[in-house]
């Protein structure tokens, strides 16, 4: 029997959907090995996050609320999460492989003497954790041989879990982060302001590459507007300053698997494919028909993006009335 503790991801007091993708993994794990799952909500003034999780069948929702936890300082969060796991007897700690999860969970693993599997995409029949390696060119099935286990979950590989009703109890956990975080000071956060859906949650993603140059926004935004899409970018478009770092999709950026993905003026390097090749439908628009992006695209259009994307935008707009 296992007890799985799920680190909830939130942003300024609002639950993030990747938590529910992680829950889907936790449910699979519990279905296979038996046991139950709890949530950990770590932060400051995060009561709303706990309430939002009450209908999802957890044994309990533990809230570690402390002013020193307001920012996800890895040493502090990692300690509190490990303390909580110990106090409730959790043998598995899991969370999304977001930048917060990647930062925090390894520290928790050390404190629990646990092995950690990163960014897993499936639980195999034999109970191994499948995870992409070599930019997703190979999948490694890994086993963790320690009694305690820490697992970060690639959200795009698991459909968000549904609510099951009921009302899980909320329990306060007396968190003691002070010492662990004392040599780190939060200075500032420079956030990307956007009214668009989150890249990780969007059903449609419009991604642009270096070929769009300083027209990156002028080309991608109108199309994203008509499709209520999130905007993504290749690393080259970010490196050249046409898009913010938060937009980067790929091996070292975000991994997405929307219903519909537009790759516009993106060549399709392995590192980019690693972040989008599990999208349901891929459309490639590129003026060079020999680019590798066409090897993964369901629909390819060999054309100048500056000419065809505005036309595509207006045709879709017309369709939608």
């Amino acid at each position: 029997m296992s007890k799985v503790l799920i680190l909830a991801e939130h942003d300024k007091g609002a639950l993030k959907k990747v938590t529910l993708n992680t829950l889907a993994f936790a449910r699979q794990y519990v279905a296979k090995f038996g046991g139950s799952y709890d949530f950990a909500v770590v932060g400051h003034n995060v009561g709303g996050v706990a309430t939002a999780l009450q209908g999802y069948g957890a044994g309990a929702i533990h809230v570690a609320d402390h002013a020193d936890l307001a920012h996800p300082i890895a040493s502090a969060w990692g300690k509190v999460l490990a303390d909580l796991a110990k106090s409730i007897g959790a043998d598995v700690v899991t969370g999304p492989a977001s930048t917060t999860g990647k930062d925090v969970l390894p520290r928790t693993a050390v404190r629990l003497g646990a092995g950690m599997a990163s960014d897993i995409i499936a639980l195999t029949d034999s109970g191994a954790f499948a995870r992409p390696m070599w930019a997703g060119n190979l999948t490694g099935n890994v086993k963790i041989s320690t009694a305690n286990k820490v697992i970060s979950v690639r959200a795009s590989a698991f459909d968000a879990a549904e609510a099951t009703g009921g009302s899980s109890p909320i329990q306060a956990f007396a968190a003691d982060p002070a010492l662990a975080g004392s040599r780190v000071k939060f200075v500032s956060f420079d956030g990307v302001q956007s009214t668009r859906p989150d890249l990780a949650e969007a059903a449609v993603v419009v991604a642009g590459g270096r070929g769009l140059k300083d027209k990156f926004g002028a080309i991608t935004e109108p199309l994203a507007d008509v499709l209520s899409a999130a905007i993504g970018a290749s690393r080259a478009a970010v490196d050249d300053g046409f898009a913010p770092n938060d937009y980067q999709i790929g091996q070292t950026g975000k991994v997405v698997a929307p219903q519909l993905y537009f790759a516009i003026a993106i060549s399709g390097a392995v590192q980019h494919l690693a972040g989008m090749k599990n999208s349901k439908v891929i459309v490639a628009i590129n003026k060079n028909g020999d680019e590798p992006i066409f090897e993964v695209a369901d629909y390819g259009l060999v054309a100048d993006a500056f000419a065809v994307v505005p036309e595509l935008t207006s045709q879709i707009k017309a369709l939608r009335g």
Partner: protein, 251 residues
């Protein structure tokens, strides 16, 4: 000040990978390169050293004899002062053991900063820096795109979901490099010549007083994921819209 920086070799990202017979790693004629993130870490170490007189820089690689070449050519030839190779049977290491080996070296060397890559492009685990920081009880600043060191502190800008976060960490600390941190320099011919004469230590894991050398995570099998098939080319926007609507039902 002293900076310990990583030099890990990885297979060329564009190489066709063959799975070894035991199914646990890759084999065959693969080209190797220095892990790109280690290149950024090395460049950052050199820049910090250039800005802070009297800073010593030490590169460390864990692996077989081949790894030594990457420490020399990738790190020492660019200007890192000395190298350390920790010999390890590569089949027997996981991220956790790598982190414990680093911790063992840190206890011998007492650096102020350990600079690693945010991930290795073969294992893609993104763990070693964080594990090491916890083993040492040090603060960490991962995914760095900017580092400023002064007065025993580092102010680090980090690439995170949603934007850029800036942290101030009190040294000693672990910092992991993201790709936009800097443009790695090339080794000069003079640098390559000098590298041959720079101090180079070879250590065995046994020299490091680790509690044990057991791994916590094992690769039990590598598989090739099922690929995507190329679809169709459409002739114009109209056909694309029509296909997306009636065939894919995506708009």
């Amino acid at each position: 000040m002293k900076i310990l920086v990583s030099a890990k070799r990885v297979s060329d990202p564009n190489a066709k990978l063959a799975i070894a017979k035991d199914g646990k790693w890759i084999e065959g004629e693969v080209e190797y390169i220095l892990n790109p993130f280690c290149e950024n870490a090395i460049e950052a170490a050199l820049q910090i050293a250039e800005a802070n007189d009297g800073t010593e820089t030490v590169a460390i690689g864990i692996g077989d004899d081949e790894t030594a070449r990457f420490i020399r050519q990738g790190a020492l030839a660019r200007g890192i002062d000395r190298g350390i190779l920790v010999s390890a049977e590569e089949e027997t290491i996981d991220s956790d053991l790598i982190a414990r080996i680093y911790a063992g070296v840190v206890h011998r060397e007492n650096p102020d900063i350990v600079l690693l890559g945010k991930q290795a492009i073969d294992g893609d685990s993104n763990q070693v820096g964080q594990l090491l920081a916890e083993y040492l009880g040090w603060p960490q600043a991962t995914f760095a795109s900017k580092i400023e060191v002064s007065d025993g502190k580092a102010v680090v800008t980090r690439e995170v979901d949603g934007g850029l976060e800036t942290l101030e960490v009190t040294l000693p600390a672990v910092i992991t490099a993201d790709l936009r941190l800097n443009e790695p320099r090339f080794a000069s011919l003079a640098g390559i010549m000098k590298a041959k004469k720079k101090p180079f230590d070879e250590l065995e894991i046994d020299d490091l007083d680790l509690e044990n050398t057991e791994t916590k995570v094992q690769v039990v099998g590598l598989v090739t994921p099922s690929g995507r098939k190329a679809g169709v080319l459409v002739k114009d926007v109209e056909e694309l819209v029509q296909k997306l609507r009636s065939e894919a039902r995506a708009i």
